[in-house]
């Protein structure tokens, strides 16, 4: 069993597991931290951004990268269409991947890169909300980037001899060769056509060898963890899970217990920020800004926590006397996001599910839209300009502040200290996001709302699940870089977990020792068990094994057909007499074997001990006999006579009956 880690970011995982001749990919997320190095794409021409000075390595010298890099407030940014860091493609032939299992819509954004550009021809499994919301996220991403095209792509800066001369943090950017421009809508459609839907606890079959079961993870609508099982082995993959009581179905952990391997990723990115407190802080900061006559910008994703924000904020604003303040939700997929959230009732928590029977929509944003308090628009153009009034609260993308309508609002409102931008997404460092907009008069507030499991919850869960081996990203073995003194923010297990980082290939210490095989009733009736000791019966069995769809069946030996004539009869006897005379068993005594070889004239040999057994080398014959527990291999270069002799000696040395 091997595990390939194709991603560096613990919260943007992409892992490949090879198990029982099957190759399974868990998630294919995009690492968006690369976006921080790019200049924002303003929808409306920005004088300020267009007039940024070109970055020069030293005074007076022409920049080797031309106009690709710009200087903004001492920070260097790439003036090009933003690029994202895709999973590593060099350590494994991704066309051999049999199946891709998706956990949530956050971790599938790299799917078109995998399915359309690597020769992938397998199947993709995901839950229906994951498919719909994932498609929305991808379409929004493409829309944001394509609507502000850049004439010239920036490529020179990536050259290694130039990259090393660039200033920090660009110079230290990780995995630059894996940075790619975004895909297009055609890629999205093609990728989504390969997706098959799966339901919670539905048992999916992979070529008869493995079963795969998605279990609710409690993180977002439709998010799941995966349990991969054979008859005797179990692997659990946990990614982005939550133990909080929010709108998705709660996390299911029962079937995950006692796994051979537990792979854990996607823990809380802001463990020192309590989501409940952050929600309160979000509300109070918003209220203060609005009361002072300012506007609030909330850069966010079009689904997920935003539903909870609408619900809490509307109630809070009512109690604070801010009912008349409009809420705007601007996104290419705003309409579909709000609509789909109301119809995926069976993927929601029981409290929201029961509302459906009243009947009431599970989320209150439907009523907010109906009442005109929440207004959604596909973009800032068109109807929005007619209805826009301030002070207001705007929810729009992208949380990186590198593209999307949020860039426009930052340009529009950034000069006034009355306005506030509140960051709720934990995936982006808000200071890095704001860097290209400096100097900024607008107030900024960091209230990350990350419902995923924190470290103490993860440690507790690992203890409860009692897996034999735990595999985690190596970042979880040490405290976060910004909190080096917090030694409680690590994953601690006994025995210690196995870490992985990008491009690592781990051989997992799971040895398959047993496989299930069915025996036909006809053959079973021929068995004559003998009691060896109390409760233990032994019987010899000779049959023919067939493997079909990874299922092993033991059948009786085939009967020879009726023939006429002596020649054929002799041939038939050979077939009929396939039944062996002896059954050998036990381990080979290497000294006895060497002695017997010497007796049979093989004298020139060297015996070498290996960790798994022995190697007997016959230099003159250029032959190697590899003896290990459970297997013996004779490697000889076409010398059939020698091979048979060695075989016979070998059998002679083994106990038999």
């Amino acid at each position: 069993m091997k595990l390939y880690s194709l991603s560096a970011h613990p919260n943007a995982p992409c892992l490949v597991l090879t198990f029982k001749d099957c190759t399974i990919m868990f998630d294919c997320a995009i690492d968006m931290s690369s976006l921080m190095h790019f200049l924002p794409l303003p929808l409306v021409h920005s004088e300020r951004l267009s007039k940024l000075p070109v970055w020069h390595l030293s005074e007076g010298k022409e920049s080797p990268v031309g106009n690709e890099l710009k200087d903004c407030g001492g920070h260097v940014f790439i003036d090009s269409s933003p690029e994202v860091c895709i999973p590593e493609t060099g350590i494994l032939d991704l066309s051999t991947v049999d199946v891709i299992l998706l956990s949530s819509y956050h971790s599938m954004l790299a799917l078109p890169f995998i399915t359309e550009y690597t020769g992938f021809h397998g199947i993709v499994y995901a839950t229906e909300p994951t498919v719909q919301s994932g498609r929305q996220l991808m379409e929004e991403l493409v829309e944001y980037i394509e609507r502000v095209p850049k004439l010239q792509p920036a490529t020179k800066w990536k050259e290694p001899n130039i990259l090393k001369t660039l200033p920090s943090p660009l110079r230290e950017s990780l995995h630059v060769p894996s940075w790619r421009k975004c895909y297009n809508k055609h890629d999205i459609n093609a990728a989504m056509s390969k997706v098959k839907l799966a339901g919670y606890s539905e048992k999916l079959n992979l070529y008869g060898a493995l079963s795969m079961v998605p279990l609710s993870s409690g993180y977002c609508i439709g998010s799941c963890n995966w349990v991969i099982q054979s008859d005797f082995e179990k692997v659990t993959y946990i990614s982005g899970s939550s133990l909080l009581t929010t709108h998705p179905l709660p996390m299911v952990t029962g079937p995950m217990k006692n796994s051979d391997v537990l792979i854990l990723t996607g823990l809380n990115q802001t463990p020192t920020f309590n989501p409940d407190n952050m929600l309160g802080e979000f509300c109070s900061n918003l209220a203060v800004t609005i009361k002072n006559g300012g506007n609030v910008l909330v850069p966010c994703c079009p689904s997920g926590v935003i539903y909870d924000l609408f619900e809490c904020l509307s109630a809070f604003m009512d109690s604070a006397g801010l009912t008349q303040i409009p809420l705007y939700f601007i996104s290419h997929v705003a309409d579909s996001s709000l609509a789909y959230s109301q119809i995926f009732a069976e993927w929601l928590c029981p409290a929201k599910q029961s509302k459906v029977y009243l009947p009431e929509p599970p989320f209150p944003h439907g009523e907010l839209v109906k009442g005109g308090r929440l207004k959604h628009f596909p973009s800032i153009h068109g109807e929005f300009t007619n209805q826009f009034k301030t002070p207001c609260v705007v929810f729009t993308g992208h949380p990186s502040l590198r593209f999307g309508d949020a860039v426009h609002f930052m340009e529009l409102w950034g000069k006034s200290s009355m306005n506030t931008v509140i960051f709720t997404e934990p995936s982006f460092n808000y200071l890095d996001a704001l860097a290209p907009f400096q100097p900024l008069s607008m107030k900024s507030c960091y209230c990350p709302i990350d419902p995923t499991m924190n470290f103490s919850q993860a440690n507790k869960l690992i203890k409860e699940l009692k897996a034999l081996h735990v595999i985690i990203p190596d970042a979880y073995l040490s405290p976060p870089p910004l909190l080096p003194h917090r030694d409680d923010l690590i994953v601690e297990t006994d025995p210690p977990p196995t870490p992985f980082k990008r491009a690592d290939v781990l051989t997992l210490p799971v040895r398959r020792r047993q496989e299930k095989i069915e025996i036909t009733s006809e053959l079973a009736s021929t068995l004559e068990p003998t009691e060896m000791k109390s409760g233990v019966f032994v019987s010899t069995i000779t049959g023919s094994t067939t493997v079909k769809d990874n299922k092993y069946v033991l059948q009786p030996l085939p009967k020879a057909p009726v023939v006429v004539g002596k020649k054929r009869k002799r041939g038939e006897e050979e077939i009929i007499n396939k039944h062996p005379k002896h059954y050998v068993y036990g381990n080979l005594d290497i000294e006895d074997f060497v002695r017997n070889l010497t007796k049979h004239g093989v004298t020139d040999m060297k015996v070498e001990d290996t960790p798994g057994g022995h190697i007997v080398h016959l230099p003159s014959e250029d032959t190697i006999i590899q003896v290990e527990e459970g297997s013996t291999h004779i490697f000889c270069e076409g010398n059939e006579t020698l091979r048979k002799k060695l075989r016979d000696v070998l059998i002679m040395c083994l106990p038999k009956f």
Partner: protein, 872 residues
């Protein structure tokens, strides 16, 4: 309570039926409460000698009831009743004699036989209520009790009650034995013995502890024990109790822990009752030595009781002749060196308060109490404590639980020192302040960057410690004059805590109170010179430029923090912010504070919370804040300007709250606001009293369902009349306070009782407001306290009117001064005193109508309805 004789006679006539009911096991008694009330009734009857005697008449049946209890079998609850009845009768010598008169000799007197019956009847003594009643009744007359115990030889059974299964029996047994011991000493039953004290002397020699036992004392111990065995029977009971206590205290492992705890509790009660007797018993039982032995191996429960006992002893150490301060210090050291650090600190705290500051050990004990806190500030604090003790405490503080417990005790000791320990000098004050300044950042956040020593990691994020430290900081700022530098550091820490969104709401509330105290102190020393203050810059400035604590608080940064908290999702945080604004508004004599409030427009925050907040407490607090703000002219004007309000519109808003708010708290607050304006704000008072609609039409019925638009045309008096029908009694009480202020305003002689000629004109003004009609209707209010207050006011008015009428023609006067004759007639003809006494009497109907109790008991005994049986 003195009962009317008619009531008593009527009750006595029905008592035989009740006694019969109690004896009849086939009948059900409704519940225990009725039986207790019956006993209260009988006790009330025995208050008067004559009535007491009536109880013993044959037709009352009391004696036959008691006789029946003695001679026949009855329910345990009946026996309990009989014992308690016995206890009531034993309080008076004449009743004791009357009981004894029925039989000759103490041994066969009725009450004696009841005690005997209860004690010896297995079916009775097994019941905990019987045991409890037996002990409590005996305690009433200790002279009698001593004789009974001697006769019945039941001291062992009493001792057994000290470790009873029932907590109530244990308490009763302890109380009884303590009373008995005190009585024995006072009546010479236990003569003072030669003072023998077995004292373990602990000497600290080069860090080692030596225990020296007085050999002479140990020989005396043996002699003394022998003496006890030959004591006379008259002192047997006292001796037995002492012997028992000594045995338990000197016990080995054979004595169970509950027994030890009970004896220790008994001793504590003994010391609380009579210190000198306690001291004698302590010597007799070798208390000090025994406790020092016990602390070696005892568990936490026993140790806690030892410490509680010595805390009581320590309070009187100065006047005690059996124990010295040094003995208690030895006990403290013993506790410490046997790992009982928290109890040791607790005892030390008390001892420090009792100890003379000049005592040679005072400084050492002082250092000991605060050592855990010092360890949190410095890894190796300099101290006068011996190194062995220091090492011991250091080792103990490595455990998280112990560390937190010790620090908690130290903080509590500090708090007590600040409030009760006398004046602190500057060095101590500075040192005490360092603790909250350095520790609050640690206890209020899990961030390890603030750790000062290795021990403070245990205190990370501990909310309880944070609250204690804030209480300490608040006490220090309230009681002492703190240096600006310390105030500045403290304010920096506390402001940061208010800014933390993860902070507990109680911590935020305490932090804001601390900030108020800091501000009060910081601004109190500022000059009031107008010229100087005008020349000063506005207060909203960046914190980097600050050097004064008031500058840090009266800054834009803190205002932003406060504003954010005013929109916190937790109601108690919002309420704390409003209360903070109210508190600092009271510092309106300080120009800087006023300037900051004005520039920050805090009035607007208050106004918005009043109008929009969905929590009733926040709205109520906003009203109080509004009232406080109105008392400072500059703030008031700025408030009205910022909120675009006029005085009339503000009054209107408060009126709307009074009439339409769905919760009682804001409505109460609204009336209080009007009261405050009436008493303290001349301008608004003038407006309220001279309203265009101040003429109140006599007999005009207030429209109870008047909409908001109608309130604009109504005077405040008609609003108050409507509010006097509020469902909440406190609103109605506040309205009566309002009327009282109106009366005081128009009728000066209401307070002075010095009648003037103008009383009738003054009454007319009062009448115009509708006050009189309001009072009249409130005098019959179904809320008792409201009716009482209304009656009290009306009685005073009546007295004045009667005085004023003196011989004059009532009708002519009323016509001349346009007074309402109906009201005058109501006052003169209504027996307000009777109404007041009726309203004032107890809500317990049985207290003033005991016959109803007896009737109910008898009636319910016949009824089989389950509902009736559980109506109390």
């Amino acid at each position: 309570m003195i009962m009317e004789s008619t009531h008593i006679d009527a009750c006595l006539k029905r008592l035989p039926d009740v006694f019969h009911l109690l004896l009849d096991s086939s009948k059900t008694i409704v519940d225990d409460t009725c039986v207790e009330k019956l006993l209260t009734l009988i006790e009330n009857i025995t208050q008067c000698t004559d009535d007491r005697m009536k109880l013993f008449k044959e037709d009352v049946g009391l004696v036959s009831f008691l006789s029946h209890v003695v001679t026949t079998s009855c329910e345990p609850c009946t026996m309990t009743f009989a014992l308690k009845l016995n206890g009531i009768l034993l309080k008076h010598d004449d009743t004791v004699q009357l009981l004894a008169a029925h039989f000759t000799g103490i041994e066969s007197s009725l009450e004696h036989r009841i005690f005997q019956r209860a004690l010896e009847g297995i079916e009775y003594w097994l019941d905990a209520s019987v045991r409890c009643a037996w002990l409590n009744s005996m305690k009433v007359n200790l002279n009698y009790a001593y004789q009974v115990i001697t006769q019945l030889e039941c001291i062992e059974q009493i001792i057994a009650c000290l470790v009873d299964a029932s907590m109530f029996v244990i308490t009763a047994a302890q109380d009884f034995t303590v009373s008995l011991i005190v009585w024995c000493y006072k009546h010479g039953m236990l003569a003072e013995r030669e003072k023998v004290a077995l004292v373990k002397k602990s000497q600290l020699d080069n860090g080692k502890e030596k225990h020296a036992i007085d050999e002479k004392s140990s020989r005396c111990l043996e002699t003394h024990s022998g003496c006890r065995e030959t004591s006379s029977s008259s002192s047997f009971i006292g001796e037995r109790l002492l012997q028992y206590m000594t045995k338990v205290l000197r016990s080995d492992s054979t004595i169970e822990k509950p027994e030890i705890v009970s004896v220790l509790q008994m001793l504590r009660k003994l010391f609380e009752t009579d210190q000198s007797v306690g001291g004698s018993v302590a010597m007799e039982t070798y208390l000090l030595a025994s406790c020092q032995d016990m602390v070696i191996n005892c568990d936490a429960g026993v140790c806690a009781n030892i410490v509680e006992l010595f805390i009581v002893i320590a309070r009187k150490t100065r006047t005690s002749d059996w124990i010295q301060m040094d003995d208690i210090i030895v006990m403290i050291m013993s506790l410490m060196h046997h790992g009982k650090l928290s109890p040791a600190l607790k005892l030390t705290t008390t001892l420090l308060l009792e100890m003379d500051q000049q005592h040679e050990q005072h400084n050492r004990l002082y250092e000991l109490v605060f050592l855990p806190l010092d360890f949190c500030l410095h890894p190796s604090p300099s101290t006068v404590i011996s190194s062995s003790t220091v090492d011991f405490i250091m080792a103990a503080m490595k455990s998280r639980g112990t560390c937190i417990s010790l620090v908690m005790h130290s903080i509590m000791a500090l708090q007590r020192q600040c409030t009760k320990g006398g004046r602190l000098d500057d060095d101590k004050l500075c040192r005490f302040l360092k603790y909250p300044i350095i520790l609050l950042p640690i206890t209020s956040s899990p961030d390890r960057q603030n750790l000062s020593t290795q021990y403070t990691k245990h205190l990370l994020g501990n909310t309880k410690l944070t609250k204690f430290l804030l209480d300490l900081a608040l006490t220090l700022c309230d009681v002492y004059a703190v240096s600006d530098d310390d105030l500045y550091q403290l304010s920096g820490v506390v402001v940061k805590m208010v800014d933390n969104p993860h902070m507990d709401s109680t911590v935020i509330c305490k932090s804001l109170k601390t900030i108020t105290a800091i501000l009060r102190q910081s601004t109190s020393s500022e000059s009031e010179s107008g010229d100087e203050l005008v020349a000063k810059k506005p207060r909203l400035q960046d914190t980097e430029a600050c050097s004064q604590p008031s500058d840090l608080i009266l800054s834009k940064v803190f205002f932003n923090i406060l504003q954010k908290r005013s929109y916190d999702t937790r109601w108690d945080v919002r309420d704390s912010v409003i209360n903070f604004i109210t508190d600092i508004t009271q510092l309106s004599d300080n120009r800087n504070v006023v300037a900051w409030i004005v520039e920050s427009k805090l009035g607007k925050e208050v106004w918005e919370k009043l109008r929009d907040d969905d929590d009733s407490y926040v709205r109520a607090s906003s009203l109080f804040s509004l009232a406080q703000m109105s008392l400072c002219e500059e703030l008031w004007l700025q408030f009205m300007s910022t909120c675009e309000q006029t005085m009339q519109s503000v009054v209107q808003t408060v009126t709307n709250v009074l009439l339409h708010d769905t919760e009682a708290f804001p409505r109460r607050a609204a009336v209080d606001v009007f009261l405050k304006w009436l008493t303290k704000h001349p301008q608004i008072r003038s407006y309220l009293l001279s309203s265009n609609y101040s003429t109140y039409k006599i007999g005009h019925k207030v429209e109870e369902d008047a909409g908001e638009s109608n309130t604009e045309h109504r005077s405040v008096f008609s609003i108050m009349l409507q509010a006097s029908h509020d469902l909440d009694f406190e609103v109605k009480l506040s309205v009566l306070n309002f009327w009282e202020v109106i009366i005081h305003h128009y009728l000066p002689c209401f307070a002075t009782k010095n009648l003037t000629e103008s009383i009738w004109d003054e009454l007319y003004h009062i009448q115009k407001t509708g006050c009189l009609e309001g009072l009249q209707s409130s005098s019959d209010d179904h809320d008792r306290v409201v009716a009482e207050k209304a009656c009290t006011i009306l009685i005073t008015l009546k007295e004045l009117i009667v005085k004023g009428l003196d011989g004059k023609d009532k009708n002519a006067l009323t016509v001349k001064h346009k007074l309402d004759i109906k009201f005058i007639d109501f006052l003169l003809k209504t027996d307000l005193d009777r109404i007041l006494s009726e309203k004032s009497r107890s809500v317990d109907i049985y207290e003033w109508n005991p016959l109803a109790l007896i009737d109910d008991m008898l009636y319910s005994s016949e009824s089989n309805d389950d509902n009736l049986l559980d109506c109390y």
